[in-house]
Structures are given as structure tokens and as C-alpha cells.
Chain length 156, copies 2
Amino acid sequence: MHTNIVLKPVAYVRNSRKEIIDDDWQNIISEIELVDEFPIESFDGIDTFSHLNIIFFFHKSTKTISAHEHPRGNTQWPKVGIFAQRKKNRPNHLGLTTVNLIRIEGRRLIVSNLDAINGTPVLDIKPVLKEFLPKGEITQPQWASKIMEKYWSSGS
Amino acid sequence: MHTNIVLKPVAYVRNSRKEIIDDDWQNIISEIELVDEFPIESFDGIDTFSHLNIIFFFHKSTKTISAHEHPRGNTQWPKVGIFAQRKKNRPNHLGLTTVNLIRIEGRRLIVSNLDAINGTPVLDIKPVLKEFLPKGEITQPQWASKIMEKYWSSGS
């Protein structure tokens, strides 16, 4: 009944982070390099946007959690469903982040705030429109705020 | 070289919109129904978040644009690369929207602000964390703001 959906990478991430590390993404600048199959026109006008949504594939993730688990394995926090956390070991292994577009260099987008390691396959690139931002006040549990304290830090 | 990535739906959208219509999404309330393969624990704690990112598959889209095109086919606007617009006829046919979680009913999430038609396969559900919002001021071109004027309207 549930048909397979077959996707192909549209680009790859190039940056200095070769191994999986959870935190300290602030100083990482990444290149998103378009695969050869796409003409450069697919980036036309992308620099009229300041931010992009990047949907990517956690290609190094070999485990899949389908029920619930403690975030970061920390038993002080509640067991939380896989769809109530952003852990990489998730069904379909999809990642999603909003990045800042710094500039374009030919077939490469130079971006900051992308939390994906070197070699990550990118499945889509979408411009961020203000009208797609969350509507109304955002609430989240305390464990989520706690996890994020070191996430975007510089690691120094 | 570019390996196929095979995904499976984790849920399906149920709502009153049976046909493809671009605009007027404001009054559509949707159910996101978990597929049988997942235990209900995969939703544990999801109601501690107000907003969710939904990654879905434009299953009715049969065309793929890989270069550039006028947004909404309007020649008054510039030709824009497929990765500089959110059109459904895109490589990999992935959709992405931030929805408001209204409530949970067993294996179904009741949400608003989801711009996906009835029967749409959902590929991932992620909680929205404040720390993943766009960093810094968002800029976008005029055509994008113009398109969005009627997008979330009630259609009345």
C-alpha cells in the first residue's frame, strides 16, 4: 500500500566537518554544490532571498528509531516520540535547516548555519518566505531549549 | 554516482481539499494520520510543541522543472530558478510547511496551516524549535510577497 518514493540528490554539502558531532555549528561555513545534472539556471534569482530551507539526507545514520527515546540519551529528560524530536536516527533520515545565504559562486551556494557534515546529500533547496514562518507564538518543552544551548555555539 | 534514496510515507494528510488549488488555505483543517507501521509512542510528547515542520511529497505533480520559469507562469515576473521558488513541479517533489498543532486524537494530529491536499504522503514530522528559526532579517523579492497575498486567505 505505501509506495516507495525514490529521490535523488540535487546537491552535496562541502565543509570542514568530516565526522558526526552534535554541537558547535556556529563557525561552520558550508558550500552547497549543485550536481551536474542541473543547469546553473536552477539558481537564477536565488540571491534575492536572504535565507533558504535545506532538506537533506542523514547519510551516515544507520539506525532508525520508530517509537520514543530520551533526547540525547539523557534519562533526566522524558522519553519523547521520534516525531517530537529532531534526532537524526529517524524514519526516512531527513534533515531540515534554515540557512543564511552568504553568496553564490557559480554552481555553489555559500551558506552559514547549516548543521550538516561534509558529503551530505541535499534533496531540496527552497527560498524562505516571511509568509511561511510559524504563525502565532511558539512553545516548546524545557529539554528542547536545554539541548539547543550549545548547538549553535562556536565550541570555544 | 548519485545513489537513489528510497523513502516511505510515515503518515497521510486527510482534509477537504481533493483537487489541486494554489491559494486560499486559511480555513483548511487537516488530519495527519500515522501509518500502521509506527507505534503511537512515536507521537509521545508532541503536544508539548505548538508548531511542527511537515515534509511531504507532491504526489499529484507529474512535471519537473529543472532550470527556471516564471512564478505562477506570470510573464510580468522574472524567470526564476526552481531552487529560488517553492513551486510543486520541482526536483524530488518535496513540500515543506510549518503547521500549528491544534490537538492529537489517537494516531492523528489535527493541524492548521498545512497547504497539502487530501491523500498527500507525509515523509517527516519535526517539532519547531525557536533556535531553528531564521537568524537575522529575512529579505525576499517583490514577486514572492505578491504571490503570498492570497495564499493563506480564506477564499471568501
